[in-house]
């Protein structure tokens, strides 16, 4: 402590030889070097797969076979991307990832909208319209989010079969709505609870009912939390594998399932460049959401987690 204290304490005066901008603290103290080198080491670990993925996808197969995995591609070559998108074999058919991409869109968009809408109503009802047992239902809902999916998987297959939607998009949407409900309801409940209750009471006094208050007062005020929920659901549903594989049926397989088929059930010699191009393509949507949303993504994962 005495060491660190003196280092940071007496710093501004001693480092007169090299003025580096407005902050007069020395940059290269042993402590700083330790901190930054550790952070950079871990950053390399985190970045390496992204580099390998992209670099490999641009290489030709001879380049991969005779070169090093660390090497940069000789030239930017989009052939593998085109093949991954349109002609790679996913088990029986060879139409590439494109059908999977559109299936994922068809699954993600309605699932996101339905699950967020229902969860918003849940949160609103739980905060402003408590009824007997509502808190108990909420507690079981949160508790239920910890039950492994495998426990409820088979009965859900039977239920969706009874409803006549097993193997169709509706089934996947229903399943995503069910399993997104705990975390999203928690998110909206906490958000609505943080709003000033006077607003709600004033609207009540003026005679507005359940739905009118929801649509005209609560929804317009909850835009920030909607964005957080949107980020959470788009990435979560896009990345899902199990539900897509079980419930979607062979015609609606999402991108993750097709990607796994391309790589892991391929016949003949594996084409690593096509595999990696397919992997990048599948990761692209959540990555774009992540980089565009920035701090909101952090808020989303933390909001869901911190008070679980």
């Amino acid at each position: 402590m005495t060491m660190t204290a003196s280092m940071t304490g007496s710093a501004p005066v001693s480092q007169a030889n090299e003025p580096r901008g407005p902050r007069p603290k020395p940059f290269f103290t042993p402590k700083k070097i330790m901190i930054y080198s550790t952070l950079i080491f871990f950053s390399l670990y985190f970045l390496f797969p992204l580099y390998v993925m992209v670099a490999t996808s641009f290489k030709t197969m001879p380049e991969i076979r005779f070169g090093s995995i660390f090497a940069l591609p000789n030239q930017i070559n989009f052939d593998s991307w085109v093949r991954a998108w349109s002609t790679a074999c996913t088990g029986l058919t060879c139409n590439g990832l494109a059908p999977g991409f559109w299936n994922s869109v068809k699954i993600t968009v309605p699932s996101t909208i339905v699950s967020i809408f229902i969860a918003a109503i849940n949160g609103y009802a739980l905060v402003n319209w408590r009824f007997k047992g509502s808190e108990l239902f909420f507690a079981v809902l949160i508790f239920g989010s910890f039950i492994p999916y495998q426990v409820m998987l088979y009965p859900l297959v039977m239920i969706t079969r009874e409803l006549g939607i097993f193997g169709k998009l509706e089934a996947v949407i229903l399943i995503h709505t069910i399993f997104g409900m705990p975390i999203l309801t928690l998110l909206f409940r906490n958000y609505f609870a943080s709003l000033p209750q006077e607003l709600f009471k004033a609207a009540r006094v003026d005679g507005a009912g359940f739905w009118r208050i929801f649509f005209e007062i609560m929804l317009p005020m909850s835009l920030p939390i909607f964005v957080v929920a949107l980020i959470l659901q788009i990435t979560g549903i896009w990345n899902d594998f199990l539900f897509g594989a079980v419930f979607a049926g062979t015609h609606n397989q999402p991108m993750t399932v097709q990607l796994n088929n391309i790589v892991n059930s391929a016949q003949g010699t594996p084409e690593y460049n096509v595999n990696m191009a397919a992997t990048v393509l599948t990761g692209l949507v959540p990555l774009i959401v992540y980089f565009v949303s920035g701090k909101l993504f952090v808020r989303g994962v933390a909001a869901g987690a911190v008070k679980g």
Partner: protein, 313 residues
């Protein structure tokens, strides 16, 4: 039922049964209708389906869940099945390593990020982006990186270091470490974000007091700040722990349980028996064991967190 409630409920002074019914069902009716999806999810899925699974795990259902009651037979088979025992021991080994390392690295990185460093948001972006990716993507990338002939091992051998070995993915004794590298890659950033939020939540006064007392920074972190982050730590353990029990996609993509059965996990055992093994009773017994594992992790936490308020969950 509603008719009676309305007719007799209006003028009744004493709390009669119809009045009670009216209060229970009609008060806040729109709210209850709106909450029907939630109520249905709780009753049908979380409670109903779970009980169904537990019940049918005691039957000899094969292709369809119509079997007759056979007591603990499925569980006896389960505990003597080699593949299940390997799955469980894999999960325990992987789980302990993953939990400890995720927490330790997450905390270490959070402490480093807390040192008023430059480029904090760039570092955070780099550490958290794997968390946004699918386990399938993570598994496939690492499968390629750890490819024995063309991955890291091949690249370093071609540089002249012929004896260099990094064949964890195809080595039954090391494959869990391969899984660990990929799992940590995806999860550490998230843990770091949680821990950093916890660190930032600690009162500045504590730091001032520790500085005045001349306690070294690292000791302040380990023995004063860390114990104060109990809430965040417990949340992290519960989230990481229940994630580990669910471990499925990553294994499917990275190793598909191989080589042999050396990286099998319970969740995969359940899915395989359920959909391709044609032995539903066995799958449900295994699923019930997964449920019990999660309960062991979650119930103590739920008790600590909500127990005081007299709630069940």
């Amino acid at each position: 039922m509603a008719d009676i409630a309305v007719r007799t409920g209006e003028g009744a002074q004493t709390v009669s049964r119809p009045n009670f019914l009216k209060k229970t069902f009609l008060k806040n009716l729109p709210a209850k209708i709106a909450a029907l999806p939630m109520i249905a999810t709780v009753l049908v899925v979380f409670i109903g389906c779970t009980i169904w699974t537990i019940y049918y795990s005691f039957t000899n259902s094969k292709l369809l869940p119509t079997g007759k009651f056979v007591g603990f037979e499925q569980y006896e088979r389960l505990f003597t099945a080699n593949r299940w025992n390997v799955s469980v021991s894999n999960l325990i080994t992987y789980g302990i390593m993953s939990l400890v390392l995720t927490l330790a690295l997450g905390f270490l990185l959070a402490v480093l990020m807390d040192q008023k460093i430059r480029f904090e948001s760039a570092f955070r972006t780099i550490m958290l982006y794997p968390f946004a990716l699918s386990f399938i993507v993570t598994g496939l990338v690492w499968q390629w990186i750890m490819n024995p002939t063309l991955g890291i091992q091949g690249a370093i051998r071609s540089l002249g270091w012929e004896s260099f070995t990094f064949d964890w993915i195809s080595n039954p004794r090391m494959v869990l470490f391969a899984l660990l590298i990929a799992g940590l890659w995806q999860g550490v950033g998230f843990c770091m974000v949680l821990m950093l939020a916890g660190l930032r939540g600690v009162d500045e006064e504590i730091w001032k007091a520790a500085r005045v007392d001349g306690i070294p920074t690292w000791r302040t972190y380990l023995f004063i700040v860390l114990p104060m982050m109990r809430g965040v730590l417990i949340t992290a353990v519960v989230l990481i722990g229940s994630g580990i029990v669910r471990l499925y996609d990553l294994v499917v993509a990275l190793t598909n349980g191989g080589p042999g059965i050396s990286s099998e996990v319970p969740a995969k055992y359940v899915v395989n028996y359920m959909f391709s093994g044609g032995n539903i009773g066995q799958a449900l017994a295994a699923a019930t064991m997964m449920l019990i594992t999660v309960l062991i992790i979650v119930l103590p936490w739920a008790y600590l967190e909500f127990g005081g308020k007299g709630k069940r969950a």
